[in-house]
């Protein structure tokens, strides 16, 4: 699964796109958030952490499939 990264999450991970092996068995948005926080402890310190699936905000129980475009959305600060 490919995960697109922006802003501070891109800097924390050090990449624009993260490829997560299917062996990690991440099946939901919530599981992805947990995995990110464990693997990159600095993610845990952020004000909030959202995930977008196919460019829509997704709930933790949403299922992820390989074809989805998945993005990590750190706290937004436009305007």
């Amino acid at each position: 699964m490919d995960v697109i990264l922006f802003g501070i999450s891109r800097e924390i991970v050090g990449m624009k796109k993260l490829t997560i092996s299917t062996a990690e068995n991440i099946q939901t948005v919530g599981a992805l958030k947990q995995w990110m926080k464990q693997k990159y402890p600095q993610i845990e310190k952020l004000n909030s952490l959202a995930v977008a699936v196919d460019s829509e905000y997704a709930d933790d129980d949403q299922t992820l499939v390989d074809e989805n475009e998945v993005a990590i959305i750190p706290p937004v600060s436009g305007g």
Partner: protein, 136 residues
């Protein structure tokens, strides 16, 4: 309705888009780079967007505003890239028959944009830089 992510905001072009002889109120809000934050001098801001999703979210807000207020014309522009103090980074414009709708819709659009649209800004000071809102 004009919803775009751009490199630069041309304020007179934005106003021209909103002008309409049939209406009595044009409200155009321009957000600019402030030269200081919490007592620190700001040198520049750098904006980054998840463009596809940001446009989707901006369009959703525009549609919601059109449902709630009698709007003749509506404009949302946001920049990406680097901006110096004084430069425009966001423009929100609403044209309506009367002023109440244009004030209220403008306020709604900028407040919601700040909450939901996936755009991020990094503030650069003389000695360091931070992603705004990232940490408590």
């Amino acid at each position: 309705m004009l919803v775009k992510i751009v490199e630069d905001i041309d304020v007179s072009e934005a106003y021209q888009y909103l002008e309409s002889p049939d209406t009595g109120a044009v409200n155009l809000f321009i957000g600019t780079v402030r030269n200081h934050t919490k007592g620190k001098e700001v040198v520049k801001l750098v904006f980054e967007a998840y463009k596809k999703m940001a446009l989707k979210e901006m369009n959703k807000l525009a549609e919601e505003a059109k449902q709630r207020w009698p709007i003749e014309k509506l404009l949302i522009l946001h920049i990406t890239g680097e901006k110096k103090p004084g430069e425009a980074v966001v423009a929100i414009g609403v044209t309506s028959a009367h002023r109440d709708a244009s004030f209220e819709a403008c306020r709604f659009l900028i407040d919601e944009l700040k909450k939901t649209v996936p755009i991020w800004k990094k503030e650069f000071y003389i000695d360091n830089s931070v992603w705004v809102n990232a940490h408590p």
